[in-house]
């Protein structure tokens, strides 16, 4: 409860973790607000069905609030003026020169604030992925402010969880992205860091995942717990195993 999880990927694609968390929280009965900036709704729906969850059903019963970034962006760029509806687009920062993500935060807050008839367990905010916001014109400070506001609203006030995906690269030239990723690392309770193998491409082992539990954030003077596994992604499943013990080798 009240945890901030950071999903970070380097040299590979960590989106399978996003799919996992989405179906995990939906199955657990939580109310989920999913800010999906990179892919369309049908993509997530199809993968979720393979994992056993139906996103359309979850949307209909009000358990899932889905912000499809691509669609909102089209409405913003090609739609008529929206002053009459009174609801500013969550991606409004794209067309304004002041890049603050307040509209996006308001959207998140209104969708996760429990209404009287809700009976879901804790709220969850899921973001895929944060690096896209930088590409769309938000400054790193604005992105960090947005995450901070979300943490206050979701983790502290509503006792929910936040899961965010960022991309990063070791020798990346994208300094703004690295700034955001590193800063979030310091604030996270749990970091799942997915990396491509250092030895290069391999058919049987798709990468390695580092699980870092930030015990150092609590006041018990413990060190961070780091666990490293390797994984292979299959059509409906991901198998994890200890390093060097892939099924192809044994």
């Amino acid at each position: 409860q009240g945890k901030f999880t950071l999903l970070r990927d380097t040299r590979t694609d960590g989106s399978f973790l996003v799919h996992h968390f989405l179906s995990f929280y939906l199955r657990a009965g939580c109310k989920v607000c999913f800010v999906a900036l990179l892919q369309s709704f049908s993509h997530y729906n199809i993968v979720a069905q393979k994992l056993g969850v139906s996103l359309t059903a979850a949307k209909e019963r009000g358990q899932l609030v889905f912000l499809e970034g691509l669609k909102s962006c089209l409405d913003l760029v090609f739609g008529e003026e929206q002053e009459q509806s009174g609801q500013p687009s969550p991606l409004q920062f794209m067309s304004e020169s002041a890049s603050n993500l307040k509209a996006l935060f308001d959207f998140v807050r209104t969708s996760l604030t429990p209404t009287g008839s809700d009976s879901w367990k804790g709220p969850v905010l899921l973001v895929d992925d944060l690096s896209v916001l930088l590409s769309l014109g938000a400054t790193p400070v604005a992105v960090l402010d947005f995450i901070h506001y979300c943490r206050v609203a979701v983790c502290s006030q509503l006792k929910g969880n936040v899961v965010v995906l960022v991309h990063s690269n070791e020798d990346s030239e994208d300094e703004e992205n690295e700034l955001v990723a590193n800063s979030l690392c310091h604030h996270s309770d749990l970091i799942l860091w997915v990396e491509g193998l250092a030895t290069g491409f391999c058919k049987d082992v798709h990468g390695q995942i580092k699980i870092i539990r930030r015990a150092s954030l609590e006041l018990t003077a413990e060190q961070d717990h780091v666990q490293i596994y390797q994984y292979k992604i299959q059509d409906k499943n991901v198998t994890f195993f200890a390093r060097g013990l892939s099924a192809a080798v044994l």
């Binding site: 691509l70 760029v77 067309s95 590409s135 769309l136 030239e173 994208d174 992205n177 059509d235």
Partner: protein, 342 residues
């Protein structure tokens, strides 16, 4: 969204671009061509002609049988360990036909290219005609291109919004040399461009348009000119497929015996992972291309056998470096940094 990094002189990426459009013509798809450099009419006149099935299959068939004959002639004596490995196929097999083949030395007949509906966007013409429009803080040229694409998608019914205009075909969009100076963007000329987000915003909106409609798009970009590499990373993130073409013209690799059969390398930086957890990763990642008189082929990179008389070659160190970057699967020897001279 297929994103292609151009090679230095743009020769081969242009070829790939034309292939994409030609495939569209042959399959009966609609086309949308956008360019700031060449007029789309000229681009369309220069599309390669499709090869008639019989002649080409005959040629490929001959090659395949010739290769098979060598196989039977003798089992390997020295490298017998390799005997059990499957034969490495240099070019795609003839049995699975996907798409069409094209003859680069001929241009497509006008009847064929006029048989489909095509739309064009030529930047110098557009700039003079249209009035100002909502730009979302984006470069004006990009904004116009987006509005133009969106208008075509809407009017021709590719987005399914109008039930009366049911579309049976898809729209193939080709955008040439995006990001270059001709589009009014200075990312290719300066390290700290004025608006660093124009290109990425454009790609994001384009991605939205593509996801919402029956269309596919190829974009070529002079990536070697973009000074700020952060932009390339963001762009890679926003595209489905990213392919880079590196030609050997003018570089030291042209005379390198390692690469003597090829004209350039193909770097596949990213492949789409759509609608599933996994993506279809091929076995090998080293691809090279060559332009024969009639065909443009992409093959696995083969190291030629090291048959020199002298023990060490002139650029052996370079060879070793490049060989280290290649994955195994070639039939040649492993070259290490140190040589054991006997």
């Amino acid at each position: 969204l297929v994103f292609t990094e151009e090679d230095k002189y743009g020769l081969y990426s242009n070829l790939l671009f034309k292939y994409f459009l030609a495939e569209g013509v042959v399959c009966g798809h609609d086309l949308f061509v956008a360019s700031a450099k060449d007029h789309p009419d000229n681009i369309l006149k220069e599309l390669p002609a499709p090869l008639l099935d019989d002649t080409h299959r005959h040629e490929l068939g001959e090659e395949a049988t010739a290769v098979k004959c060598e196989d039977f002639h003798g089992s390997m004596k020295i490298a017998w360990r390799y005997q059990n490995l499957p034969k490495v196929e240099a070019s795609p097999t003839t049995s699975t036909k996907f798409g069409h083949y094209y003859d680069v030395s001929k241009t497509m007949s006008p009847e064929l290219s006029q048989s489909i509906k095509w739309h064009s966007f030529y930047l110098p013409e557009e700039l003079s005609s249209q009035p100002k429009m909502k730009t979302c803080n984006m470069n004006g040229a990009y904004a116009r291109l987006l509005h133009s694409i969106q208008r075509i998608i809407y009017q021709e019914g590719f987005d399914g919004s109008d039930p009366q205009k049911k579309q049976k075909t898809i729209l193939r969009i080709g955008i040439q040399s995006l990001g270059s100076m001709l589009w009014g963007d200075d990312i290719c000329s300066s390290d700290t461009p004025e608006d660093i987000h124009s290109l990425t915003k454009f790609l994001y909106v384009l991605r939205g348009l593509l996801r919402k409609s029956l269309s596919a798009c190829i974009i070529t970009v002079p990536a070697h000119l973009i000074q700020n590499k952060a932009i390339m990373e963001r762009v890679t993130n926003l595209s489905d497929t990213v392919v880079g073409l590196e030609s050997f013209i003018g570089s030291e690799r042209e005379t390198n015996p390692l690469y003597k059969d090829y004209h350039g390398l193909v770097h596949v930086h990213q492949i789409p992972r759509l609608n599933s957890l996994i993506c279809d990763v091929s076995d090998t990642k080293d691809l090279a291309f060559r332009l024969k008189r009639k065909l443009f082929t992409i093959e696995r990179l083969h190291l030629p056998p090291d048959l020199s008389d002298t023990v060490s070659r002139a650029s052996k160190q370079d060879l070793a470096e490049s060989a280290k970057l290649l994955s195994s699967g070639c039939g040649a020897m492993a070259i290490g940094k140190k040589h054991l001279d006997f």
